[in-house]
Symmetry: C2
Subunit: 86 residues, 2 copies
């Protein structure tokens, strides 16, 4: 599955969240990561993220069964290292 994760967590946990996300996905922008995960990996990632998150923290997972169903275009500066698909 092609996965995009965006998170908005308390300042105290941003470092740990980024570290966790980077174990599974590629960083492409501030609090935004993407990559290919198997359903099992996605399940593990969500469980770990859940454990880390508290109070008002928020994380959104967008998952598409196939990367080609999702067009990606970067306007302006490209932060991450992955190329543009569009």
């Amino acid at each position: 599955m092609y996965v995009i994760v965006v998170y908005d967590v308390d300042q105290k946990r941003t470092g740990k969240m980024l570290k966790l996300c980077r174990r599974y996905l590629h960083w492409i922008q501030n609090s935004v990561l993407e990559g290919e995960l198997t359903p099992m990996q996605l399940k593990q990632f969500k469980a770990e993220a859940h454990k880390l998150m508290q109070d008002n923290d928020s994380l959104i997972v967008f998952a598409s069964r196939d990367e080609k169903w999702l067009e990606k275009e970067v306007l302006g500066a490209e932060r991450g290292s992955t190329d543009t698909f569009l």
Copy 2:
């Protein structure tokens, strides 16, 4: 098209960028918006965003031809008003 936009722009322009994005999409998280756009609307949005952006500003558009090709799950606090699809 179902569209997700994530942006990372200079502090001076975040207000204007949010205002522009909100004219087209629903805010769901810090610098993250989503919604349905026609190809023409998406084109207009990108042109306006391009005009607004400078230097190292970055904006990524993810577009899926059909919302059902993309599963969305919110972990933790839901910021935006849209419901969870998953």
